[in-house]
Amino acid sequence: MDRMACVDLPAFPLQLLIREHPDWKSHPAVVVDHDKPQGVVLWSNDRARQFRILPGMRYATGLSIAGELRAGVISQAVIDSHIESITRALWSLTPGVEPSPEFPGVFWLDAEGLVPLYPSLEEWVTRVRRELETEGFYSNIAVGFTRFGTFAGAKSVRSQKVFARTEDEVSFARSVPIDRLDFAPKLRETLYKLGIRKLGAFLDLPAAGLRRRFGEEAHQLHQLAGGEGWGGLEARAPEVPLVYEVLLDQPEGDSDRLLAHVELHLRSLASLVVKRFELIASVTIDLLLDDGSKRRDELRPAEATLDLAQLLHLVRLRWETVSFPTGVIEIQIEVQSVGGTTRQETLFGTNSGASFDDRPRRDLDAADRALAQVRAQFGDKSVGRVSVEEGHLPEARYDWQPFRKLTDPQPREVAIRPLVRRVHWSPIPLPPRSRHEPDGWMLSKLSDGPVEEVIGPHIVTGGWWVREVSRAYYYVRTRNDRWFWIYHDLVRRRWFVQGEVE
C-alpha cells in the first residue's frame, strides 16, 4: 500500500485568531460564529477552557464566567486563503497535498517514495512540522497507509506518529476516542449516551441498524472508518506559474529592444495559455534596473485575449514616455489567465464578419479598447465612472468607481435644464479675508470683480466620531456674473471654493 500522511492543525481557526491578535495569547480567547453576544463559541484556547468556556457555549455566557474573554470571527475567506498558503508551503516537502474540504486545517500528504530523499519518514515528518511552525502553526501528523487511519492518528496523537504496519494503524485507530474525530455533534452525543466512546466500539455497531437510526451519513462514516469506500489521495500538484524571467547580459535602455524581448517571451507564455484553453487577462512586467531600482507595469486589455499585437501595443503605450537611463538588467513577465467566453473566442476566431454599415454607430468595444489604452498610458485610476452617493458633504455625494465595460447611456429627460455645479476635485483655498477690503471681497481673478451677492449659509457639520467637519456654504456672485460655491471651514477658519455654478 502507498504511504500517506495526515496533517492536523488543531483548532485551526483559533490558531488563525491568535496569529491576528498575538496579545490575546495570555487571555481567554475564542472563535465565535458571528460577532454578537449571542454568537456561539466554535473554538476556545487553553486559558478559556480553564474557565470551562467550551465550544457550543454562547459568547455572552462565556463572558459572564471570564470577564476578559476575547472573541473574534474567522471568516471562511480567511480560512481558505490560509489553506491555500499552507498548501503552497507543503508543496516544498511533498509532491502531493490534499486539503480536506470538510475539516479545515486537515491535509493529506503524499508520503510515498520520500525515504530516499529523507533519512526516514520520522525525519520527514519533523521537517513538515518545522515548516508549519515557521508559518506560525502548530501541527500533529500521522503517517500510515489509509486516509481514515492517518486522520484518526493525526487527530489523537500529540506531535507525530509513524505507523510501520497496516495492522498497527488499524489497532491504533480502534482505540481513538470518537470525540477527537469531528463526528457530527448530534451523532457523537447519542453515541456517548449509548456508551460508545471509542472508534472500535463504533465499528462494532451493526451497520444496518446504524443506517436506520442515524442515516446515510453515519453509515458512510462507519464504512469509511471500517476501511471501505476510500478513494486514493486526490492531491493537488503545484501549479506552474505563467512566468518568464530574462536576464540581460548588458543593461538595456532602449524601449524598442526591451519590447522585442517582451514580445518573444510573451509569445511563449501565450502558447502555454492556449494549451490551458484560456485567455490572457493581464500581463505584469517587472523590470530590475542596473542601479537596483525596480519598476512594475500591470496591463489589462479591454477583454481577455490572445491577441499579442493588442497586448504589445498596450506595453508600448505604457513605455512610450518612460526612459531607463541606467538600463534594465532583468525582466520578469507574468501573465494571468482566465477561461474565455464563447463570445470572446468567436470574436477572436472570426475577427468579426459584420460589414461596417451593420455595426452599431456607438462601438462600445472600440471604446473599451480605447479606454484600455488610456489606462495603459496613464494608469488604472485614470478611467472611472461617477456614482451618486448619499452623503452630506459635496465630496461624499459622489464617488469614482472603476469599471471594465462600457454600457449605453440612459439619460433621463428633464423639462428645464438645471443649473450645474462644477465641483473642484479638491477645494481651492482662498486667501484670508482682510479687515479692509476697499474694493470689496475679491475671490479670485481681479477680472471677476468683487462679490456682489451672497446667498446662504447652509451649514454642514458632522464626522465628529472620526474627524470633525464644520462648513458654512454660500453661493456668491461676482460683479461679472460668475457664481461661485464657496465655504468657510469653521474648524480651520479658512475660506475655500468648492465649485462654480454654470
Binding site: F51, G67, G209, H458, G462, W464
Partner: protein, 1031 residues
C-alpha cells in the same frame, strides 16, 4: 418673545435627544413665551413636561406630529380640552390600526377631529412641501380649510440645510395659492446643540446602521436645538409675519393638563341606588361576615371614618370596581388577595379585597388614603399567575376597550444596553462592547476605569465617545412596553384622556403613559399582579379535596398551628413563600417566629432596607432579651413599640417623620415617594435637614436624629411596607402549613406551578424526600402531563408524588397528552406499541427513553434509547427492516450514571441524590455530610464538598458571596469573603460540584461555613447539576 411650536423629546423614540423636562427648562432659560411638545404620534412625554412647566411657570402647549397614510406628517396643537380629546382619539385611531410602533391616520379623520386643534402643515415631511404633490394637495385643501378655518397654517421650517430654500419657495407658492398664512418654525430635536452627537446615534439605532454607513439618514448639521428669541428672529429676519403668527398660535393654545377632570367608572347599580349607598351597603354586609359575633366598636369607628373619607373624595366607584374584580375572581374559582396599602383599610377588609384586619393589626390608614393628599388609593390585587390573563380580559370586557387600557412601562436605556447600542453604532465589535457591558452594573454607566478593565484603550477617541454617549443616553426611553398589571379605567372614554395603542402581546391595549405619569396626574390605577404562590395554594387545596375529601380555603387553614411554627423556626422552609431563601432560612432560627405577626416581621427584616440601616441585630438582641428595649423619645413609643423600639417598616418611617419631626401626613407620603425613587439622587437628601432640625426641636438628640435619617435613607433601598408583609405573611403561613401537614400534596402542587420560587425542581424533590415523601419517577405507563398523587397506604400523608411528563426536557405537551390519552387500561406492551398508539416522533421517544420513562417497557435505558431511535411513528408505513437486524450490545448504566441521565433529561432524579453514590469515596477522604457538619461544634475547621445550588452576592453584603451547597442529607451555607472569592474565582464561578475548606460558625442553630479555600473534589465521577446564580 417667541414660541417653539415643533419640539420633539426623547419620547419620539430614537429621534428626539432630550428629556421633556430638559426641553422645558431650556425653553424657560432662553425666555421663550411658550413651547409645544409635539412628539411623533403620541403624547408620551407630556406629563413630565407638564410637571416641569408647572414648576417653572412656562406655557406648555400639548400637541403631536401625526403621521398619515401617505407617510407625510402634520403638526397638531391642542387649543382646548376638546382639541386635546380629539388629538388623543385621532392618535388612538392611527395606533390601533397599525402594528406596534407605528401609526397612520387618514386626511378625512384629521378633518373630522379638527375641532379645538391648530394645524401646522409643512416642515420637512409635510405633503404640501413635496415636489410632486400639487394634485394630492388640491384634493384635500378644501376639506382642510373647512375643518380648520383660520387654524391651518403653512409651517416654514429653517435649519440651514442644503435644498431648504427650494422647498421653502414651493411652500410659499402654495400658501399664496391656497390663501393660507405661514408660520415660522424649527424642528427641535434637542434642547442644546451638544446633544447633536447623541441625536445622530439615536438615528442610527432607529435605522439599524452605524455612523459610518448612516449617510444622509442623520441630520446634516446641529441646527435642531431650541433657539433663543433673538436667534429665532434672526433666522426669520426676512419674514416677521411668520414670526408673529407663532405668537398668535401660541396664545390660542390655552389647553393645560390641569383641566383634565377624571371620573372613575360608575357601576351599574340596582334600582336607583347611588355608588355611595351601594358601597356602604356592601361594606357593612361584609363586616357582618368578617365579624359574625358582632362588629367591634373600634372596627365600626374605623369603617365609618374610612367611608366618610371615601365619600368626601368621591372614590366610591373605585372601591366598587375592586370589589367587582375580586368577586369575579371568587366566582371563577381564581385565588386572589389584595395587598399593598389597601391592607391598611378596614373597608377593603370588609369588602373581601384584603384578608388582613387592619384594626387588629394597628395598620396606618393614612398610608392608604388621606383627605389632605386627596390622591387616589393604590390597591394591588395578587392573582394566581396562571389565571391572571382571564381577569385582565374580564376587565377589558366589562369596561370596554375605550374605557379600560393597561398602563405603559417605558423600556429605558440602562448602563449595559446603552453601551451595547452606542458601541454598535460607533462600529465597535459587538463582542468587545459586550465585554465592556458585562463589567457594568445595571444602573451605573461606564467610567474611564471600565475601559481598562475590559481591555479597551482609554485614550482612544472612539472609546471616549463610547463613554460619553453611553452616559448621555442612559434613562432615555427606547420603546413602549406594558406594565405588569396596571389598568387605567375611566367613566369617560380613556382615549379622550390619553391615546391608546396596541401592545406586543395579543389582545392587550396600552395607554401612552406609565405608572408615574398616571400618579402625577392623580388618575386611578388598578393593579392586577400575578403571584405563583397563590397558584400553589390553589393547586394544593384542590388536590387535598380530590384525594382526601377535605375542603380548605385560605381563611379555613388552621391558624397558630404549632407544628407549622416548629418547622418554620427550624428554618425548614424550602418552597415556603417568602421565607425560603438562604438568608430567610438563616434568620428563622434566630428570630424564632411564634405567631403570625412574627412572620410579618420575618418577611420585612431580611430586606436591604433594614440590613443596610443596621436594624437587624439590635432588633434580634432586644427580642432575645440581651438588650433593653428603649425609645429615643417617649413620643415615639407608640410608633416603635411593636418592633421593640427599632423601625422595621416603611409605615413606621412615615410615622416617625410625623411624630418626631412634625411632618404632615402629606409630607410623610412625599417622603415615602422620595424613598421609593431612591435612584433619583438627591430626592431623599432634600429631607435631611428638615427631619433632623425638627427632631432636635422636639428634644431628640442629634445623634439619634441622624441615625433615624440614615435608617430612612437605608429604607430607600427596598424598605418594605408592613401592609405588604402582612399580606405576604398570610400566604407564607398557608404554604408553610401545607408543607408541614401535606408535604406530598404541597410538593406536587409546587412542581406543577413551576417555574417559580427560589429552588430548582431537583432541590424541591430532594428536600421532600428528606421529609419522607415518596417521589416516583416518570413512567409512560402511569404519568400524566402534570405531577400527580398516587395512594401509598404506609407513607406519612398516604400519597406518593408521581412525576409528570412535563418534566421530560424537550417533550412537547401534544406528544405527552397523546401518551396519556392513548394509554390502554392494561398499559403499553412495548416501545413499538407506545410509538404506534401515541403516534410519537422518534425524538419524543428518544427523550422519554433518556428520562427513564420507558423503563417499565425496557429496563435497560441504553437499549431503550437504541430501540427508540428509528421507532418513531414516521416509520410505520415503510418496510420494517428490524426483523433482520443484528442486535447491538450496550453496557448497563451504573447507579451514578442513571442519576446523571435523570438530571440531564429531567433536571432532577427520584432515584437518588448524585452524591449518594459518592458518599463512600467522600467519607474515605474524610469529607463529612451536611448532617454531620450541622452536628459539629462552632469554630472547627472542616473540609466539605457538595453541589452548588445557589450563588448570591447581595448588594448590601460588601462584596461577600453566599453559596449554598447540597448533598443527599441537606444544605450547607457558605460565607465567602471577597478576597477569598477573588483568589478562587474560576472554581467558585464554574464548579457545579465544589469542595471547600473553612471554619464553622454556629449560632442559635444557624450554621455557616466561612470559606478559606475552594477546590474541585478529586473524584472520578463528578455530578452534573445547575445552580441558581447571583440573584
Amino acid at each position: 418673545m417667541t414660541a417653539a411650536l415643533w419640539v420633539k423629546s426623547n419620547y419620539s423614540f430614537l429621534e428626539g435627544a432630550s428629556h421633556p423636562d430638559e426641553l422645558v427648562s431650556e425653553a424657560h432659560r432662553l425666555g421663550l413665551s411658550a413651547m409645544a411638545l409635539t412628539d411623533r404620534d403620541g403624547v408620551y412625554g407630556i406629563v413630565r413636561a407638564h410637571m416641569k412647566a408647572r414648576e417653572l411657570g412656562l406655557h406648555l402647549i400639548i400637541g403631536s406630529e401625526v403621521t398619515l397614510f401617505d407617510d407625510s406628517t402634520i403638526i397638531l396643537l391642542a387649543e382646548s380640552r376638546r382639541g386635546y380629546a380629539n388629538l388623543c382619539q385621532l392618535i388612538t385611531q392611527g395606533r390601533l390600526r397599525s402594528p406596534k410602533g407605528s401609526s397612520q391616520v387618514r386626511w378625512s379623520e384629521i378633518c373630522a377631529r379638527a375641532e379645538g386643534l391648530s394645524a401646522l402643515w409643512g416642515g420637512g415631511r409635510g405633503l404640501i412641501g413635496r415636489e410632486e404633490s400639487s394634485v394630492a394637495c388640491d384634493r384635500i385643501i378644501d376639506d382642510l380649510r373647512d375643518a380648520f378655518a383660520d387654524r391651518l397654517s403653512i409651517a416654514i421650517a429653517r435649519h440651514r440645510e442644503a435644498g431648504e430654500a427650494r422647498r421653502e419657495r414651493r411652500l410659499r407658492d402654495r400658501a399664496r395659492e391656497y390663501g393660507l398664512p405661514t408660520v415660522a418654525v424649527t424642528e427641535v430635536l434637542y434642547h442644546s446643540p451638544s446633544r447633536r452627537d447623541l441625536q445622530d446615534v439615536l438615528t442610527c439605532v432607529r435605522h439599524g446602521v452605524t455612523l459610518s454607513t448612516a449617510k444622509r439618514r442623520t441630520c446634516s448639521n446641529a441646527e435642531h436645538a431650541l433657539l433663543a428669541p433673538f436667534g429665532f428672529e434672526r433666522l426669520f429676519v426676512d419674514d416677521p409675519g411668520s414670526i408673529a403668527r407663532t405668537k398668535e398660535i401660541a396664545e390660542r393654545c390655552q389647553f393645560n393638563l390641569e383641566e383634565i377632570r377624571y371620573r372613575y367608572p360608575a357601576e351599574t347599580l340596582p334600582g336607583g341606588v347611588t355608588t355611595e349607598q351601594w358601597l356602604h351597603h356592601l361594606t357593612w354586609k361584609g363586616a357582618e361576615g368578617r365579624y359574625p359575633d358582632g362588629i367591634p366598636d373600634d372596627v365600626r369607628t374605623q369603617v365609618d371614618k374610612e367611608l366618610s373619607i371615601i365619600g368626601d373624595l368621591e372614590y366610591d366607584g373605585y372601591f366598587l370596581t375592586m370589589w367587582e374584580i375580586v368577586r369575579y375572581c371568587r366566582e371563577s374559582g381564581i385565588l386572589c388577595q389584595g395587598r399593598g396599602s389597601a391592607a391598611n383599610s378596614a373597608v377593603c377588609y370588609c369588602l373581601g379585597i384584603t384578608a388582613i384586619d387592619p384594626v387588629r393589626m394597628g395598620l396606618l390608614f393614612e398610608r392608604f388614603l388621606s383627605k389632605e393628599r386627596a390622591e387616589p388609593p393604590d390597591i394591588d390585587v395578587d392573582i394566581e399567575h396562571n389565571r391572571r390573563e382571564e381577569v385582565i380580559q374580564h376587565v377589558y370586557k366589562k369596561y370596554g376597550r375605550s374605557h379600560a387600557a393597561m398602563v405603559a412601562n417605558f423600556i429605558r436605556y440602562r448602563a449595559r444596553s446603552a453601551v451595547r447600542e452606542v458601541g454598535k453604532v460607533l462600529g465597535i465589535a459587538e463582542t468587545t462592547v459586550d465585554r465592556l457591558a458585562k463589567t457594568l452594573s445595571h444602573y451605573h454607566g461606564p467610567a474611564a476605569g471600565s475601559l481598562d478593565i475590559a481591555g479597551l484603550d482609554p485614550e482612544s477617541k472612539l472609546h471616549q465617545n463610547l463613554l460619553r454617549l453611553s452616559a448621555e443616553i442612559q434613562d432615555f426611553p427606547r420603546h413602549l412596553s406594558i406594565h405588569p398589571g396596571g389598568f387605567l379605567l375611566g367613566h369617560d372614554p380613556v382615549n379622550e384622556l390619553v391615546p391608546i395603542e396596541n401592545a406586543t402581546m395579543e389582545d392587550r391595549t396600552v395607554i401612552q403613559w406609565d405608572k408615574e405619569d398616571v400618579e402625577n396626574l392623580g388618575l386611578f390605577k388598578v393593579d392586577l399582579l400575578g403571584l405563583g404562590a397563590l397558584n400553589v395554594v390553589h393547586l394544593s387545596l384542590d388536590l387535598i379535596e380530590e384525594h382526601q375529601g377535605q375542603r380548605f380555603c385560605m381563611a379555613t387553614i388552621p391558624h397558630q398551628d404549632e407544628p407549622t411554627y416548629d418547622m418554620i423556626r427550624k428554618g425548614d422552609t424550602v418552597g415556603v413563600f417568602q421565607i425560603e431563601s438562604r438568608a430567610q432560612m438563616a434568620m428563622l432560627p434566630r428570630l424564632a417566629p411564634r405567631n403570625y405577626y412574627d412572620l410579618v416581621i420575618e418577611i420585612s427584616i431580611v430586606r436591604p432596607g433594614p440590613i443596610s440601616g443596621g436594624m437587624v441585630h439590635p432588633y434580634l438582641r432586644r427580642r432575645s432579651g440581651v438588650e433593653e428595649v428603649t425609645y429615643p423619645h417617649p413620643s415615639l413609643k407608640p410608633v416603635l413599640e411593636k418592633t421593640l423600639g427599632i423601625p422595621l417598616f416603611q409605615e413606621q418611617v412615615m410615622q416617625l417623620a410625623i411624630v418626631a419631626a412634625d411632618y404632615t401626613p402629606g409630607e410623610a407620603d412625599q417622603l415615602r415617594r422620595d424613598m421609593a425613587a431612591w435612584r433619583q439622587a438627591g430626592r431623599i437628601e432634600g429631607h435631611r435637614e428638615r427631619l433632623i432640625s425638627r427632631m432636635m426641636r422636639k428634644g431628640i438628640a442629634r445623634e439619634f436624629a441622624e441615625r433615624v435619617f440614615e435608617q430612612i435613607r437605608g429604607f430607600g433601598e427596598y424598605g418594605f411596607p408592613e401592609s405588604h408583609a402582612a399580606s405576604f405573611a398570610l400566604i407564607g403561613y398557608a404554604t408553610a402549613w401545607l408543607k408541614c401537614h401535606h408535604p406530598a400534596t404541597f410538593l406536587c402542587a409546587l412542581l406543577n406551578a413551576q417555574p417559580m420560587g427560589f429552588y430548582s425542581p431537583a432541590t424541591l424533590v430532594d428536600d421532600a424526600k428528606r421529609h419522607d415523601v415518596v417521589v416516583r419517577p416518570i413512567d409512560v405507563q402511569r404519568s400524566l402531563w402534570d405531577c400527580s398523587l398516587e395512594r401509598v397506604p404506609r407513607s406519612g400523608e398516604g400519597f406518593a408524588v408521581r412525576m409528570g411528563l412535563r418534566y421530560v426536557k424537550g417533550l412537547q405537551e401534544t406528544f405527552a397528552q397523546r401518551v396519556v390519552e392513548a394509554r390502554p387500561d392494561s398499559g403499553y406492551e412495548s416501545i413499538d406499541d407506545l410509538a404506534s398508539r401515541a403516534r410519537l416522533a422518534e425524538s419524543a421517544l428518544g427523550r422519554l427513553s433518556e428520562a427513564g420513562a420507558l423503563q417499565s417497557l425496557q429496563p435497560e435505558r441504553r437499549q431503550a434509547l437504541w430501540e427508540a431511535h428509528g421507532t418513531g411513528s414516521g416509520d410505520q408505513a415503510s418496510l420494517d427492516l428490524r426483523v433482520c437486524e443484528e442486535r447491538a450490545q450496550f453496557g448497563d448504566l451504573t447507579e451514578f450514571e442513571s442519576i446523571r441521565w435523570d438530571y440531564e433529561s429531567t433536571g432532577h432524579s427520584t432515584r437518588g441524590h448524585p452524591l449518594e453514590a459518592l458518599r463512600a469515596t467522600l467519607a474515605a477522604q474524610k469529607i463529612p455530610s451536611s448532617v454531620e457538619i450541622h452536628q459539629m461544634p462552632s469554630g472547627r475547621r472542616v473540609r466539605y464538598a457538595g453541589l452548588v445550588i445557589c450563588r448570591q452576592r447581595p448588594g448590601t453584603a460588601g462584596g461577600v458571596v453566599f453559596m449554598t451547597l447540597e448533598d443527599e442529607t441537606g444544605f450547607v451555607n457558605l460565607i465567602i469573603w471577597e478576597r477569598v472569592f477573588a483568589t478562587f474565582e474560576i472554581v467558585a464561578k464554574t464548579a457545579s460540584f465544589l469542595g471547600v475548606t473553612g471554619k464553622l460558625q454556629s449560632e442559635s442553630g444557624v450554621v455557616h461555613l466561612v470559606v478559606e479555600e475552594m477546590w474541585e473534589p478529586d473524584l472520578s465521577k463528578k455530578p452534573e447539576t445547575r445552580s441558581r446564580d447571583f440573584h
